[in-house]
């Protein structure tokens, strides 16, 4: 058990002491700050840029729901792409550089090596999401004068399940594919497939493919079917993917 604890502490230190503490947090913070401001001032910005070209067209008055949907949209697109790219080498970077050899010839199981990475980085993503959502919430309250929390937090939590699923998926891809870029490519492929799958209603209602749409609907306070099934299947799939990654890594030659 001490192997798990010590290796987890090393992963946390690595996040704090390397580029990892800057890249994903900066991306999330950027969207957390810019989202509410853009939502609030978009009519003014468009009006100023378009001038008289808008004619009779009147842009609707923005609401705090626009800030919320902007936040979820940015999480589901650019932030998720960044996550896929950053975590393409979550395991392979260590096997390729040779650092894994010094760790795995000590009393640390390969299962611990993989599971600790998936768990610690999911935890890191959770912390970033909570902080980003807090910033969005506060700025929405400041810019719009009101910001009920329910829609925002429920949407963010639904997205978090999707984010953790991709963390598990990238862990698996990083075990299977020795190149970080190759694993990232496979991750983007999975993203595209899930996006296409979400078009078909049964898949959207019962599988992870429905999560981004559900999160966006919750943020917009639109009527949505229950998120329970997509959440349950996503959590189950995340656990299965991480377990499969651990199993395959155990059989891998280093």
């Amino acid at each position: 058990m001490s192997g798990y604890r010590i290796f987890a502490r090393k992963e946390l230190s690595e996040i704090v002491r390397t580029w990892r503490i800057w890249v994903l947090p900066a991306i999330i913070l950027f969207f957390a700050i810019s989202g509410p401001l853009l939502a609030r001032f978009t009519p003014e910005i468009v009006g100023a840029l378009a001038g008289s070209q808008l004619g009779q067209i009147e842009l609707p008055t923005p609401t705090y729901f626009d800030a919320y949907t902007g936040w979820i949209k940015n999480l589901s697109q650019i932030t998720l792409f960044a996550l896929i790219i950053i975590y393409g080498g979550i395991v392979s970077a260590e096997t390729k550089s040779g650092t894994a050899i010094l760790v795995l010839t000590k009393p640390v199981s390969r299962r611990a090596f993989v599971i600790v990475k998936a768990v610690i980085h999911s935890l890191f993503l959770t912390i970033l999401l909570v902080l980003g959502t807090l910033v969005t919430w506060a700025l929405t309250a400041v810019t719009f004068g009101e910001a009920p929390g329910g829609a925002l937090w429920s949407a963010a939590l639904v997205w978090l399940v999707y984010g953790v699923l991709f963390m598990a998926l990238m862990t698996l891809f990083s075990v299977l594919i020795s190149s970080a870029a190759g694993a990232a490519g496979a991750g983007i492929g999975a993203y595209v497939l899930l996006s296409i799958a979400s078009i078909w209603k049964p898949l959207s209602e019962y599988t992870p493919a429905g999560l981004p749409g559900q999160a966006a609907s919750l943020a917009a306070h639109a009527t949505t079917p229950s998120s329970l099934w997509p959440i349950v299947t996503s959590i189950a799939l995340s656990i299965a993917l991480a377990a499969l990654a651990a199993l395959l890594f155990r059989r891998k030659e280093l």
Partner: protein, 309 residues
């Protein structure tokens, strides 16, 4: 004596290529064992199998009496390993890495602090606060040796431990290995024959994935090494070479600088008896005559032929 390492018919193939081909090897507990071989002979593959980083295609390997693949952490807790090119977390300092490595073995508190300090001294890295990313290859190699010792291992596996070190660093590492004699089994792969001759009790020579020989160094020299006689004469060495080459006990004769002649002999006693007479018969003066064993290098070259690096 029990065997710290026992390989039986160990084979590792990559496609059609056999990196190891039916290796039989036994390393006595407490000994310092040199694993010699030219580049590409399969030394690193052998160490990967011993540490469980790779699995055998056929045969078996036991480390400290246990099957590596089955025992897992139980075996790893008792070994220290230095890979040929050790890679570290570059954002750590040497002290941080040693503490991390010790923690993985379950060490903590004053024992970990004491051992970390001692090994930093050994590696010459005490007081170095630079991150490992800024280290030279030699510094990394010394830190690699230190981290392999953090758990006071029963078996120390070293892959080319002196290859990146300067003469002083090499001497320090070899002295450290000698100091472990009797307490820790040391298995180290190398192609530096002088290192093996200096510190090892026993040696195995690997060639094209097969063990060409395994024995104590003395036994190996006796078994494979013909003896050598070097003579120095006052003049006319060239003519004497032809005369000596005709003798039955002369396996080979070669001219060396300054009028010397090197003779590889199959019967040193006969050579010692007859050489002075041959020199005298030609009216030459015998300046010097030395008889001795062949070095490990010559045994190595004899066993692995021109493939040696």
């Amino acid at each position: 004596m029990t065997a710290a390492i026992r390989a039986v018919g160990l084979t590792k193939s990559y496609g059609k290529k056999h990196a190891l081909d039916g290796v039989h090897l036994s390393v006595e507990e407490g000994s310092i064992f040199g694993f010699l071989g030219p580049n590409g002979a399969g030394k690193t593959t052998m160490l990967r199998l011993m540490t469980g980083l790779a699995r055998p295609t056929a045969g078996s390997i036991e480390v400290l009496g246990r099957d590596v693949a089955e025992a897992g952490n139980a075996v790893r807790a008792e070994i220290g390993f230095l890979p040929d090119v050790p890679a570290f977390y570059e954002w750590m300092t040497a002290e941080h890495f040693l503490r991390f490595a010790g923690g993985l073995f379950g060490l903590s508190g004053s024992l970990l602090t004491e051992r970390t300090g001692m090994l930093l001294d050994l590696a010459g890295l005490n007081g170095v606060t630079t991150k490992i990313g800024g280290y030279s290859r030699g510094m990394k190699q010394r830190l690699g040796v230190a981290q392999a010792l953090i758990n006071a291992p029963r078996l120390l596996l070293l892959d080319e431990p002196t290859s990146a070190l300067d003469p002083m660093g090499r001497k320090d590492v070899l002295d450290m290995i000698v100091s472990l004699r009797g307490r820790t089994t040391v298995f180290f792969s190398t192609h530096i024959l002088g290192d093996v001759e200096r510190v090892c009790d026993s040696v195995a020579i690997l060639d094209h994935g097969r063990v060409a020989a395994q024995a104590s160094i003395t036994e190996l020299k006796q078994r494979y090494g013909k003896q050598k006689v070097v003579i120095e004469v006052t003049d006319g060495a060239d003519a004497l070479v032809a005369t000596i080459a005709d003798r039955a006990w002369a396996a080979s004769v070669a001219r060396a600088p300054h009028g010397s002649i090197e003779i590889t002999v199959t019967d040193v006693a006969a050579a010692q008896r007859e050489i002075p007479a041959l020199v005298s018969a030609r009216g030459l003066g015998l300046v010097r005559m030395d008889a001795g064993e062949l070095g490990l290098e010559e045994v190595f070259v004899e066993l692995v032929g021109g493939g040696a690096s």
